[in-house]
């Protein structure tokens, strides 16, 4: 059964159309990756799910239509969003950043904080450090942690590996796999790093110029001629 269903999603920035009738489904307990180049509309797609853009079309999450809802209500329903790592609160410490994520899940603060610190022990060591002074990898961990503090059923992660060292990318992948396997968390990531996405996800959508161009399992897409030529350069 699909936890998230998007039908004919369209987003405009002024007169420019960013998403053209995007439709996709995310099954409960799955990891789904949206891959595509810069400017394809990946971040816009995630922003639209959380209600940060004006959009038309239908977005149904766990049986609830999100189309007319705004971000605070949507987050309350159980969607956690980890935007690109620049979107932290730079003059706040790690713990303060995490607690902002718990604004709508106050009863589970201690449990969620423990879970985040177990997942990323480095954050516990640096709990009072201002995030503007952290490395890119740590900032990504804070971003993920903040999204997890809202006790989500669905985690949206925007470009988790952007600008990170390969070693850190592996850590992030391990954490996401762990969340999916241990807690059954459904995860949607957007990625330009196609290898990373294909190794992590069970289902992959290729988004280009605001349209879904291809979809399939990683194994299917790995042999797709267009993907091989465009993204693997072979």
């Amino acid at each position: 059964m699909a936890l998230l269903e998007i039908t004919d999603l369209e987003v405009f920035y002024g007169k420019a159309r960013s998403l053209h009738g995007v439709s996709l489904e995310v099954g409960a307990g799955k990891i789904v990756a949206i891959i595509g180049p810069n400017g394809a509309g990946k971040s816009t797609l995630l922003d639209s799910i959380v209600g940060l853009t004006k959009r038309t079309g239908r977005i149904v999450f766990d049986g609830t239509d999100l189309s007319r809802m705004r971000a605070p209500q949507i987050v309350s329903l159980g969607i956690g969003y980890a935007p690109e790592r620049g979107n932290l609160f730079p003059f706040m410490g790690v713990k303060e950043n995490l607690l902002v994520g718990a604004y709508r899940a106050r009863k589970e603060i201690d449990k969620n904080l423990r879970m985040v610190f177990d997942l990323f022990p480095v954050l516990e060591e640096r709990r009072n450090q201002e995030t503007r002074t952290q490395s890119g990898g740590e900032r990504q961990m804070v971003s993920l942690g903040r999204a997890l503090m809202s006790s989500p059923k669905l985690l949206l992660v925007d470009e988790p590996t952007m600008g990170l060292a390969p070693r850190v990318c592996l850590d992030i992948a391990a954490a996401l796999r762990d969340l999916n396997a241990r807690l059954g968390l459904t995860i949607v990531i957007t990625e330009q790093n196609v290898n990373f996405a294909m190794n992590l996800a069970q289902e992959v959508y290729l988004l280009e110029t605001g349209r879904i161009r291809l979809k399939g399992t990683p194994d299917e897409l790995r042999h797709e001629k267009y993907i091989v030529e465009t993204y693997f350069g072979a």
């Binding site: 971000a71 605070p72 935007p83 604004y103 999204a147």
Partner: protein
Amino acid sequence: MGVLVSLRWWLVFGVGMCLLPLVVSTGTLRILVFAQFLAIFAMSWDILSGRTGYISFGHPFLIGIAGYTTAMLTYHLGVPLYFSIPAAVVATMIGSIFFFIPALRTRGTYFAVVTLAFMEVLYHLMQVVQPKLTGGTRGLSGLPTIILGAVPNYYLSFGVMFVIGVGLWLLIRTRLGTALSTIRMDEDAARSSGLNTTKLKLFAFMLSAFVAGIGGALYTHYLGSIAPRGIFDISFLFSILIAALIGGAGTIVGPIMGAYFLTLLLEFLRPYLPGPERYLIYGAITLLAYYYAPKGFHNIFGLLWQRLGALGRRE
């Protein structure tokens, strides 16, 4: 525990200031009354602009609404102060909605310019529309005062400033205070974390107007008069902004420090620079503060305190 320790400092400050009339002249107390009113206005600016990052260049708009409301009620209708002052506060909070509406659609410089426009509009309205009611360019004078004398007015202004200061200082230490500062740092990230930034901003605007309303109404009755050129003067606006900025925006304690510093500095300079050229010093102070101490006195004192603590532990 940290809050309790810091509250002890508030207590020390409060007791010290209460004892001050025993050792300083009434002339100095009158200067301090102005510093305390400036601190109230700077805190009102700080809870809106310092916390949420929505920089207001039109704060005298709010202060003016409060001042004119209570002035007109008492002058024309003989309404007692215990009714006119709360009415002025309510009117200011309603007036702040005019500020809030552009904040739904504009940010940064655009918002600042819009608020400046509000101030200018009210300035001209008070002069030309119904001058019989507002007193026109001369304003209204002979307004009733709350209490007479330098010492009672000192205690009144200090008491109000102290209560507002402690209240706001405690508030910014709560989750609500943290949520307000997320708007300044990254409003979109705050929304994506599930924070209702519209409600939070409305709360900040209302609270700021509440404080400006109290300050504006009391200030008007302390002066016993109100005139558009006084309340909507650009140097009055700059005093508020600079007090908050050099003290340390977003900290509540900083604007109090800045207000005392600025008022006392200008008085100190009076014999040397008797004319309006004294206000040139504003620009110089702002530049120096931004260059050498962008986080304000609050931060400087904090760092000094930490170093003293470290030295003490080493010995």
